[in-house]
Symmetry: C2
Subunit: 372 residues, 2 copies
């Protein structure tokens, strides 16, 4: 079942597994390592598609669960798919809905067949099996679809983890069978909890089925950073080097730097957008909590070295004023800055890998961070 | 005390008092009749200055009371005035704070000296007299400042209205005396409640003092539309024809059309921005309440004839989805549309006056409105 990989390697770090390259989707090409802003409900919160393009975002993520529940994949299909509906031409990756359904906890019931759950909006009974997850994502028209997977909380014992991981593999096979629109890429998701052997077996089973890319799921779920890195290291070497590798739901700027070091090509996380709305802003020296009274009179931009729209035009004093007043513009300007920080961090990372100076880049990155 | 008027007449309607022209401020020129979006707290809610420029806004309004209370005029002065603080180069008009202070009701106490009041934020005791209103507005660096006036509720008897109006005139004189930065224009505010004789006397007293423009205050306070129009008609003929005339806090699209008909050059109102955030959108055929389920599947833009960013790129179905989900983007896109509608209505009005077809324009305007 193998087919041509969408991944092309450009350069490789001689000191680590870090690499840069590109992934081709039917909407075009994006450069990796890449950070994907999260647009849960057909909108990356508080910014327009034009803002995202100006920021340099190449691909965004949509949440299948949310779109399935509201407004529904059939409505979105009628309106030109997710691209047409939300006015975003570049690539879109959709998750499978699994993670959100598992987050419903007692509202969700998992069987061999799939996930029965109640809508978080109106309590209505819904069902999503692997075939449905593909049907929904094909209707959404996403360029990269994800297999429906089971999510393993932390900590969980090995037997339960193994059973859940095996179910993910059987679901992955059914997703692959259901996958009819071959110009929409389909990625498998490696599970296996915190057990390296299970991670390896999960990877092997997915490779046997054959996907356009491979994701590492079930990390950043409460484990230590060290354990997260260990699990990444225990998984990446078992994945095919000529396919894109995606670490799901991760993470902080440090997590991105460490993930790339360990061979990750793709990341997504709500952190830059959510933190922006909470007034926590990223800079190369650390976080700025903009509501802090020390910024009341501060004429400087958030980050003097930043070239984003917000930093080019507004002072910390103004941003603090907007945030304290709960002006909507605060969320817009903060989000533009944080996404720019993330997207440009990845750009700088790619440059460093191309120059084979990623080790030095990583040292500098930590050296500039001020302890809080 | 007279000085050169900032107003230049371009064209006059032969059927009405409608006229078009321009007002020169130290930031440049704006074309009249003009609608001024309201940026209460140093931000026109939910849009960036770039959005406003793309929409075609020429001048915005800031609220002195709000900026005085938070973040304070001294802080804003330190940060380049309101223009620098909020990144808006074109003209800014600030009100005097009078209207907002009177809205505090029992929290405000008016004397000959000025208005003593308690902050709506923390209850702290504050005072704003005519000299303070000018000092604050000079610090804000607004291009058009307004005199501190007393606001007369509706209905009020003639004696009270007369006393209040006379106090407004005495305060206007003190504002004029305190006015030191002559490149910042200062407008007087005609009061007089719903009494034509008092309106006329108020106008005469202000003209005697001499201002750069004249505003009609105290309308749209609960009286009928007919009475509002009557009071406008009772005031405009007593104002000097070579100075700009501003109808404060007005209004609906119909109010703008009728105000221009009666000789008004400038308007401001929170209606387009506030309605946008409530999901009520203006079109040339009437209002669209976007959360209505009839728009669930609707692939059309808000207004098929509208060339705003929102209508060029998004369907009613998408805008309904965003609004129902309370996505911040809903407020941005709705505000862009409503402000574009207002700003373009004024552009069309100016064109009609230039062609001396304002009577036909006004008939067409009503002819296109569908009854709700």
């Amino acid at each position: 079942m193998n087919k041509k990989s969408p991944y092309t390697l450009h350069a490789r770090s001689s000191q680590s597994r870090a690499r840069c390259g590109e992934v081709r989707t039917r909407q075009g090409v994006f450069q990796t390592p890449v950070f994907m802003p999260v647009g849960t409900q057909a909108s990356v919160k508080a910014v327009t598609p034009e803002n995202l393009k100006e920021i340099g975002a190449q691909i965004i993520l949509g949440n299948t669960y949310h779109l399935f529940v509201r407004p529904g994949h059939r409505l979105i299909k009628q309106h030109g798919g997710l691209h047409g509906f939300m006015n975003w031409d570049p690539s879109i990756l959709t998750d499978s809905g699994g993670f959100q359904i598992f987050s419903l906890k007692e509202l969700a019931k998992i069987s061999e067949e799939g996930a029965a759950f109640r809508s978080h909006l109106d309590g209505s009974r819904l069902f999503l099996g692997p075939e449905d997850a593909i049907e929904v994502q094909e209707a959404l028209g996403s360029d990269i679809m994800m297999c429906l997977d089971t999510c393993i909380p932390y900590p969980v014992n090995q037997d339960e983890t193994e059973a859940s991981t095996e179910l993910t593999s059987r679901w992955a096979w059914r997703c692959r069978q259901a996958h009819s629109k071959r110009d929409q890429l389909l990625f498998g998701i490696v599970q296996g909890g915190m057990y390296p052997k299970l991670r390896q077996r999960s990877a092997e089973q997915l490779i046997e089925i054959g996907f356009d890319g491979y994701a590492i799921g079930g990390l950043s779920v409460g484990e230590t950073k060290e354990l997260m890195h260990d699990m990444t290291e225990a998984t990446v070497p078992h994945l095919p080097v000529d396919y894109p590798i995606y670490l799901m739901g991760v993470g902080t700027p440090e997590d991105l730097v460490e993930g790339v070091w360990r061979g990750i090509d793709m990341f997504d996380c709500v952190m830059p957008t959510r933190n922006a709305r909470n007034g926590t802003l990223f800079t190369h020296t650390g976080k700025v909590v903009i509501k802090n009274s020390r910024y009341r009179d501060d004429p400087l931009p958030i980050d003097e070295n930043c070239t984003c729209y917000t930093c080019q035009n507004y002072s910390r004093a103004y941003l603090r004023h907007l945030f304290v007043c709960r002006e909507i513009l605060a969320y817009q300007l903060n989000t533009i800055h944080n996404l720019f920080y993330y997207v440009n961090l990845m750009k700088d990372i790619r440059k460093a890998i191309e120059n084979d100076s990623y080790g030095a880049f990583r040292n500098d990155f930590y050296g500039m961070l001020e302890s809080d």
